[in-house]
């Protein structure tokens, strides 16, 4: 049985190493794709091996997924108002370094999660039970704070009107993006607009994948040669701080529904991080860690409360009738997969870095846009393509106006906040959907 588990850890890591390289592909989309296969797999392999396959895929995906995030979709620095930290490294020829920082975060968070596990098995369900009746105002505070604290734009004129409008313009645009993505979320999640398991795929690909690639394609970005073999120095204190931030943010995202890893990282950064300009490395380490931490803490929530907080947890839940859950085994599988994922990510990242300038960047971006659109068309049909196009437009607003892309996570945050407030049906009625 153990050999079977090891084999499926390796198989899962292998599959996720490929799917992780697809931009905009969320781990939940990957898991959703294998959900229908679970009953079939259970006929041929042991339930524990299925669990090993799922956890290995989910963990590896969170490690490898930073390769497309860093190497693809970089805008031209002079035209984009906001350049993501990973893209800043890429435009300086240090894309591989950025990927390594995210790996430090992912692996470090995984190890810290195991250390904290005995405490968190007790604490997380307790926090959830205490706050479950109060999620509406907790989520609303997160939203209000994020929207109000959007920093002002650059001053260009010396008039009072210009100064005040510059200060409030980003808050206004952020609110607009939040509401638009939230309405899209309500339509996708609460109406039969998209059917099937992969309802999240078209909107997420549009919001964060195609929009970034399209902007990169339009802005004629020139990628400098990448230093793939250079020794990477990491300050121990900075790494530990990033891992701590990633873990904190991961706990927050794992316990509270609607809080995405990106949202919780932004909050952790504001709470205990450096000023934004100082913390690019720190951001990459913590954002690397938060996805992994969220995946682990979602398993803790499933184990302790039976609450499904992620696609991975939903898939494991399907296997639960056939196997007794052992949290330590699940986390050990994640750790083993994390080890394999680290090695494969370094290998793929080095290969991508050394070959990136050999292919015209715009051609690569266009190719991936076409591939993603085809995939969306095949999975979700023409309506999926329409949803992706709408989401892409919202994503482009965030890039061109220089607001934080985290506001597009209103896609999940608005439907969930309105659900806890009990306003969901009223808003859907306002939208003419009832």
């Amino acid at each position: 049985m153990w050999l079977e588990i090891v084999v499926f850890i390796v198989v899962g890591a292998g599959i996720a190493s490929i799917t992780g390289c697809i931009p905009g592909m969320h781990v939940n989309n990957l898991i959703a794709a294998i959900l229908p296969l679970i009953p079939f797999l259970l006929h041929y392999i042991s339930p524990l091996a299925v669990v090993a396959l799922i956890i290995s895929m989910a963990t590896t995906h969170t490690f490898v997924n930073f390769i497309p995030s860093v190497f693809l979709g970089a805008p031209e620095a002079s035209t984009a108002l906001s350049v993501l930290p990973g893209h800043k490294f890429l435009l300086e020829g240090r894309g591989h370094e950025a990927v390594v920082f995210t790996l430090i975060g992912s692996l470090g968070t995984l190890i810290l999660a195991i250390i904290l596990l005995p405490t968190l098995v007790v604490a997380l369900p307790l926090i959830y039970r205490i706050t479950v009746q109060h999620l509406h105002w907790l989520l609303a505070i997160v939203v209000v704070h994020m929207l109000l604290w959007e920093p002002p734009g650059k001053l260009r004129k010396n008039t009072v009107t210009h100064r005040i409008t510059t200060a409030w313009s980003k808050t206004f645009i952020s609110t607009l993006v939040f509401v638009l993505s939230g309405i899209l979320g309500l339509l996708v999640l609460e109406t039969p607009l998209l059917t099937g398991k992969n309802v999240l795929f078209p909107p997420l690909v549009g919001l964060f994948g195609v929009s970034t690639l399209l902007f990169s394609f339009m802005s004629k970005t020139e990628i400098p040669p990448q230093a793939a073999t250079k020794t990477i120095k990491v300050d121990r204190g900075e790494a530990l701080k990033g891992i701590a931030m990633g873990t904190t943010a991961g706990i927050f995202a794992g316990v509270f529904p609607g809080i995405s890893p990106a949202t919780s990282t932004a909050l952790a950064q504001e709470a205990i991080g450096h000023e934004r300009e100082e913390g690019e490395k720190l951001f990459l380490i913590s954002v690397g860690g938060v996805n992994t931490a969220e995946a682990i803490y979602a398993l803790v929530m499933l184990y302790s409360l039976g609450r499904i907080r992620s696609g991975t947890a939903a898939a494991i839940n399907q296997v639960l009738p056939y196997v007794e859950l052992n949290l330590w085994l699940l986390v050990s599988i994640a750790l083993a997969a994390g080890g394999i994922a680290t090695l494969t990510t370094i290998y793929i990242s080095k290969r991508v870095a050394s070959n990136l300038t050999k292919i015209p960047y715009q051609v690569t971006c266009l190719g991936i846009i076409i591939a993603l659109s085809t995939l969306v068309l095949l999975i979700s049909g023409p309506i999926g393509l329409l949803v992706m196009a709408t989401a892409t437009n919202i994503g482009i607003i965030t890039i061109t106006t220089g607001i934080r892309r985290v506001h597009a996570m209103g896609f999940l945050l608005l439907p969930i906040t309105t659900f806890f407030l009990g306003w969901e049906s009223k808003i859907l009625a306002l939208l003419g959907c009832n």
Binding site: I130, W137, H145, W149, R163, A167, E277, L421, G422
Partner: protein
Amino acid sequence: MRNISHITIAISLATLSKQIVIEAAEEKSLFLVLVAIIAILPNILDLKIVAPLKMEIPKPAIVLPNKEKPNHQPNIQKTLEKILDDTIENIDQVYKYGGRKIVEFPIFYIKHKPIPYKLDIGPNTVTVTHPTGRTTRKTPIPIEEGGTIKIIDRQTPIEIREKRQKDGTRKIQVLLLPWNRGATHSLSIPLLLTPLIPLQPLHGSILFAVACLHPITDMLSTTGCKLFWPIKKERIPGLGLVTSSHDPKLNGLVITISALLTCINIATHTPMG
């Protein structure tokens, strides 16, 4: 304090009231969201109204202390005077012996990148060099007779942060906050909320207390705030318990304790369904 610290402190205070917790749980009240907004209102007003009106469009500026009107904080004044003395001494040296001298110090504009200022002191001019985006702007400032240079922004409240570098040296960061913690951080703002108290005694009192808490907690740092504006228009020096109110350790501790208190309050007061 950072915004999240202000919010968590305010929420832990507000949830001490059983009625507020019950209203939030059973009536789906959003009063606690209002509490959070009031908790960060001074910072929002600073960022969205005072800063845009007062903030200079970034331009070359040599930020040096004014010896005639010294900063009320002796340690800050001393550090600033050291920068001034170094600069003037170098100008004197160039005047006397020729050649060039370089004085470097970073200036932090809030929410902007640290700007490494370089004063290239030549025989006739001091060239201020600082990067602006991709280019480096060089602005020569003429030296007047007697070897002094023009002092800009003399009345700017300045926060000095000292950071120990990895090599053991200390880096001085000069944080320009001409707009921060002025009238918005005075006790006059909570006074505006007092008419609410007779109308809604509990809710009004909580909002009043939360509004008072913000400037009081900000007084823990060295910078202080204009606590008694408009009666006393000068900035009241802070208690200096922490060098910077953005200190991650302090904020982390405050957030953890406040969040724990909130959890205890909620667990105690929420009726179990």
